[in-house]
Amino acid sequence: MNTFELITKLLAATLAMGTGLTYATLGEVFAEKSGILNLGLEGTMLIGALSGFAMAFHTGSLVLGIIFAMFAGGFFSLMHAFLTITLRSNQVVTGLAITMFGTGLANFLGKRVGPVSNNLNLVGVNLSSKFENIQIPALHKIPIIGAFFDVSILTYLLYLLLPLSWFFMYKTKYGLTLRSVGEAPRTAAAMGINVNKTRYFYTVIGGFFAGVGGAALSLSFIPSWNDSMTGGIGWIAIALVIFSAWNPGRVAIGTLIFGGITSLQFFLQASGFKMVIPVQFLAIAPYFITILTLIFMTIRSLNRQGSFASPSALGTPFAIDEK
């Protein structure tokens, strides 16, 4: 295998793995921009992975699977929104509770909603089809870049969603509303914006994305169901939001780096390649990079007295009559 082929293969693996990660990250960017930190992402993704797979398995329709996963994810985020926005509960603890509940429920149901022939277990059953890669004629043959044109429909959709999200957030009136609610809720309310309604809306949107992200794993990347199959991708997504400085335009760069590191790790393990760096250090690299990024961004904003990249009101509830 020459170097070009190797890099192309690695890139293809990165895109396949990174698709679910990118959906989840993009969704979390929307939620956090509105001021809601949703640490329930890992559990929400797992619920998406399970409901998508179960639906697709029983109906035979991948599209139904994705749609169902989307709404399941949306429902879990709605719980988070209700608790943190209406009932003003602590966002950190609520998010963790959602992750614990979601993980438990998905793992529990995974052993209860499968086919009778397999003891109601979804572990070990196969789908009749999965989201296959679609090759774009001619383009997919270009070395390296060709990998971008030999991916599943879910990944192609991201090529549209990422720039659209950036445009929506920074160039439209709605995007301005979203950002103002996360940056200065009091001012936004004074301008006549319904802060809590806006936050509800974008938190649920975030859940839609997380659900699809989970289903991208169970219907395309791995095509199967396994206990806790998201394996921490939800937490990497939280890290990725910071790394991309809450900007949808930068999410793709983060996915390529973080997803690249992760698939490199699998790749090296599978090939039995003797490494200078232990595999485990590759696994922790995304978290390490994120902490460094966070420190760097915070210090920079302190020195310049300018605004920090993170939404100022992130994590704080809003009530018009209270300070």
């Binding site: 719980m79 003003r88 602590n90 609520t94 529990f108 995974g110 910071i242 485990q280």
Partner: protein
């Protein structure tokens, strides 16, 4: 009917007691729905969980052994939460504690045998305290968000532990895992599986209660948590307190790891990230940060864990039901917490002005 939410003048004591009880009831009902939908009888299942946790001497012993690290992590997290410092890194601090004690057990062999355990536990505290101190210092010095740093540092600690037990410190004979600690350095058992660590944790509860409620430092922590501006005006150093509180918090989580590995696992191996640190957050939250109430909560959650493990055999239900119930208990509790310092006022729908 419309309603609005209004702030109470002071926290409602009645609600502080009622809400956890209601939450328990609501979670049992919601969990019952999940069980009915999956063709299981909820009452039978709850009885099976109870029997699985307290049904025999061995089962009680398992539950108590599980309670020890849970309670310690709950206490650890609680100290940081007092300052409104959201330390969700107890999991990583626990793992660092295990790494610390393993380091002593494996490489400090020149120590006299009787000193191995105390030095090892001290190293567990130092490692955990160091891991907690970093996000504390970052927050104090540059106001780096602690939720995100502590969360990320969990996975870094787990990664380091994996590297150690899979390659660097792997025992030559094993597939993974370090060599077993020398027997002289184990924490002894006095009743079946129950080891002396339980006394360490109970003493810690009393000491912490005294420090948090009766000393000047405890008073300062409370003041910072309630109103950091007022604390600053009173001349309380917020920076210093954050760093100290996080070193103490991490140190206790590290000690939890040290005790559990010296008494139960006797090595650093797969499963070191057992989730005690994350469950500790629930312990702290449900107990309202009170060390004595933490004992009850930790015992309850430990029972839920051991009880659910038994479900697989007795009820042929996936043991994940325990996690479901654990999450279900927390959700109504969080939902209810607003009523401690708020009240709902119902008003008639507005008529024409």
């Amino acid at each position: 009917m419309r309603f609005r939410i209004e702030k109470r003048n002071e926290k409602s004591k009645k609600m502080q007691i009622l809400i956890p009880l209601y939450s328990l009831l609501i979670s049992a009902i919601l969990g019952g729905f999940v069980l009915i939908l999956s063709n299981a009888n909820p009452i039978d299942t709850y009885i099976a969980i109870f029997k699985g946790a307290f049904g025999s001497d061995t089962k009680i012993q398992y539950t108590l052994v599980k309670m020890i690290p849970l309670l310690m992590c709950g206490l650890a997290v609680g100290i940081a939460f007092r300052l409104r410092f959201w330390n969700i890194g107890a999991e990583g601090q626990y793992v660092m504690g295990v790494i610390g004690i393993t380091w002593v057990m494996q490489f400090w062999t020149w120590l006299p045998g009787v000193l191995l355990l105390p030095v090892g536990l001290l190293m567990a505290i130092i490692f955990g305290g160091f891991w907690g101190g970093i996000p504390g210092a970052l927050k104090a010095q540059w106001r780096v968000d602690e939720t995100l740093t502590t969360l990320m540092m969990n996975y870094i600690a787990i990664g380091i532990a994996e590297f150690l037990y899979i390659s660097a410190w792997k025992a030559p004979k094993n597939n993974m895992g370090t060599v077993t600690f020398p027997e002289i350095a184990w924490i002894d058992r006095f009743w079946g599986k129950v080891h002396y660590g339980i006394f360490i944790v109970l003493i810690l509860v009393v000491v912490l209660y005294y420090i948090l409620y009766k000393t000047r430092w405890g008073f300062e922590l409370n003041m910072i948590g309630k109103n950091s501006e007022a604390a600053r005006c009173q001349g309380v150093s917020i920076k210093r307190n954050i760093i100290i509180a996080m070193i103490v918090s991490g140190g206790i989580a590290g000690l939890a790891g040290g005790i559990d590995s010296a008494a139960v696992t006797h090595s650093l191996t797969k499963g070191v990230n057992s989730g005690y640190g994350f469950t500790g957050i629930i312990v702290a939250w449900m107990s309202g940060l009170n060390p004595f109430i933490s004992i009850i909560v930790a015992l309850f959650l430990a029972a839920l864990h051991t009880g659910s493990d038994a479900l697989q055999i007795t009820m042929r239900l996936p043991s994940a039901m325990g996690e479901v119930l654990q999450g279900l208990i927390l959700l109504p509790l969080l939902a209810g917490s607003i009523f401690i310092d708020h009240r709902i006022i119902f008003t008639r729908a507005k008529r024409d002005k």
